[in-house]
């Protein structure tokens, strides 16, 4: 029997592959223990820089666009004759090769930072160069995601967004992390990419490189050095699953035909290619992208053009647009933020309106103008609504701007508690489970250690969701979910069971949620919801639901 490690399965699927550990960032170097020989250390440093330069050149050949340009500039930095002179000068003072490289690069880094602006951004390229060079000299794994040509299981303590930007889904077959939780970045990215993932898996970072493992993202089990028959069985299950996902299509519905709309979360209108995904529309179109990285507010015409592009791509389908959700944590030069050092609880979303008259109206006008020229069924909703009064004020303004369907996000517990009253003043509701968790549990979403509190299986969160959804059912007002919860194929059944009529998620999650729904009746969803709501904690809720579904 092979050894097994057990964690929390956060993205279903089965994969087999060799373990590759992600290199840790290179920290400060300890003081050298002895003086180095100047000539020898210079040679060592030069050789390491040359190897790093070649590695960068090799990657540049495979890259395109901006990535290729950055790699080209970086390889030129590694070959910079003035840098090599500086390294030799540092080595001449008795510094060993890693310390000489460190000191020489630090000198240039300070100059770049002093130059400011664009130049300062290159400091990050230099930091990366330093880390790569020192990793080579000290025989440490390269920091970041390893550069490999064959498929592997990526193992890390935890994964940050910067670590996952260039994950290649053709090479990474599963993610396993020692830490992290159900709402960690690892879980989010794995679901978005459709990769099996296990988090909170003690002992995984101690597993030897290249050890073959089976990762089961449903049960959370990681099998080390499996026997050939175990591998064959896992591969059969993976193939059957892939076939099932491949063959599923069309609108979301349960086994007995109850409709549950399957929609996409989009971060910008540049994702118009998402229109090719087999989905019923967009359940959450964020609009921050239009406003970020700008010194002035985009004009109405600019906004119309951007929205119109996306609406054209989704012609005939539903698109739910969320109005601007910025605040003290994402400040904009042209938006007056107001005071406060607790950004999540300050002036954000809807609350900015008072200080920034016209901002919301201009956006609503732009969305209405773009919608008028399209075939889309366009809905608008406001973020950060805390009271029924605020919800009514928003829907009034949206209707006045010509929007037939106006609703709000439920992400503040006070609004969920007044769900019955809320349904009288809105045309629909969308529950943002991520922020609703943050505000219900008084737990900052950005604090990784609070991951357990932010688990979307927390019974208290599910109770607020159920309360809102049931109020919607009673009033015939559609209630959807557009947070992380919707992308979990088991939790999706619980959400359908409490009465949610639509689920919106990243495109990678959609096929498995569709398959999951198609396998059960509405009554079964209701039973699962009862089980999850009755559980004493999130872990039990998840485990009991998974056990029920076998």
């Amino acid at each position: 029997m092979s050894d097994q490690l057990s964690g929390t399965g956060v993205s279903p699927g089965i994969a087999v592959g060799p373990v590759v550990q992600m290199g840790l960032p290179i920290g400060e170097l300890p003081e050298p223990t002895a003086r180095g020989d100047a000539q020898l250390e210079t040679q060592r440093a030069n050789r390491a820089l040359d190897e790093v330069a070649r590695d960068l050149e090799r990657r540049q050949e495979r890259a395109t666009g901006t990535a290729a340009e950055v790699l080209f500039a970086q390889s030129m930095m590694a070959r910079d004759p003035v840098l090599l002179d500086a390294v030799a000068a540092e080595a001449a003072t008795g510094r060993p090769a890693p310390h000489a490289v460190n000191a020489a690069i630090r000198g240039f880094r300070e100059q770049l930072v002093a130059a400011g602006g664009y130049m300062a951004e290159r400091a990050a390229d230099l930091d990366d160069l330093r880390n790569r060079c020192i990793a080579r000299l000290l025989h440490l794994p390269m920091p970041g995601v390893p550069d490999r040509d064959d498929p592997f299981v990526l193992v890390a303590g935890d994964l940050a967004p910067a670590d996952t930007v260039d994950l290649d889904p053709a090479l990474v077959v599963a993610l396993v992390t020692e830490r992290g939780g159900a709402t960690s970045h690892t879980a989010i990215i794995a679901k978005a990419m459709g990769l099996p993932a296990v988090v909170t898996c003690p002992g995984i970072t101690a597993v030897r490189e290249e050890t073959r493992v089976i990762v089961d993202g449903s049960t959370g089990l990681v099998t080390l050095d499996p026997a050939d028959d175990q591998v064959a069985a896992a591969q059969r299950r993976a193939a059957a699953r892939a076939e099932l996902l491949e063959s599923s299509s069309g609108p979301g519905r349960t086994l007995d035909g109850q409709r549950v709309e399957l929609l996409l979360n989009l971060g910008s209108t540049s994702e118009a290619d998402a229109a090719d995904v087999d989905a019923e529309g967009v359940g959450l179109l964020r609009t921050e992208f239009l406003f970020l990285d700008r010194t002035t507010e985009p004009t109405v015409d600019e906004q119309v053009e951007a929205y119109a592009r996306l609406f054209a791509a989704f012609g005939g389908r539903k698109v739910v647009v969320r109005t601007l959700d910025v605040g003290a944590d994402k400040p904009l030069p042209f938006v007056e933020p107001g005071p406060g050092d607790n950004p999540a609880l300050g002036l954000r979303g809807w609350r900015l309106g008072e200080r920034n008259p016209g901002l919301l109206e201009r956006q609503l006008d732009a969305i209405a103008a773009a919608a008028a020229g399209s075939q889309c069924d366009t809905w608008v909703m406001a973020p950060m609504i805390a009271t029924v009064e605020e919800a009514a004020a928003f829907t009034d303004r949206a209707h006045a701007a010509g929007h037939a369907t106006a609703g709000v996000m439920v992400e503040v517990p006070s609004l969920a508690l007044r769900a019955g009253e809320l349904m009288r003043v809105v045309d629909f509701v969308s529950i943002g489970t991520n922020d609703l968790s943050q505000y219900t549990f008084a737990a900052d979403r950005l604090v990784g250690e609070l991951g357990d509190l932010l688990d979307p299986w927390q019974p208290a969160l599910l109770e607020l969701v159920a309360r809102t959804a049931q109020a919607g059912v009673a009033a015939h007002v559609p209630v959807g979910v557009c947070g992380e919860a919707a992308s979990d194929p088991y939790l999706a059944l619980v959400l359908a069971g409490v009465g949610c009529s639509s689920l919106s998620m990243a495109r990678g999650s959609l096929p498995q949620v569709r398959v999951s729904l198609a396998g059960v009746t509405v009554q079964r969803c209701r039973d699962l919801a009862q089980i999850a709501l009755a559980a004493p904690d999130a872990r039990t809720a998840r485990a009991k639901t998974a056990a029920e579904l076998g």
Partner: protein, 96 residues
């Protein structure tokens, strides 16, 4: 007949053409071209000159689009080397 070497240093003022200034890609292209020259070409912007073949030194100049930089070189091939780099720096390398 006077040889090039006896003519002293060749200098040339040039206005940076790249929209983002001499950073990243434009600087790397200039450094690559400078390294291919038979002489060391120096480049300055309101201060002490640095080697044009050093991408890090080029970036550290902080030269923005429209800024004037001064190229200089001495020895055989200096005029051609300075002219080649001046032509490169004046172009919008980011757009290419």
């Amino acid at each position: 007949m006077a040889m090039e070497t006896s003519a002293g240093p060749v200098t040339n003022d040039v206005v940076v053409g790249s929209r983002v200034g001499l950073h990243a890609r434009p600087a790397a292209l200039v450094a690559q071209a400078a390294a291919a020259q038979p002489v060391i070409v120096q480049i300055a912007k309101d201060g002490a000159p640095v080697q044009a073949r050093s991408v890090l030194s080029l970036i550290s100049l902080g030269a923005k689009c429209g800024d004037t930089v001064t190229l200089s070189a001495e020895g055989d091939g200096a005029p051609a080397a300075v002219a080649a780099l001046a032509e490169l720096i004046a172009r919008d390398l980011d757009a290419e």
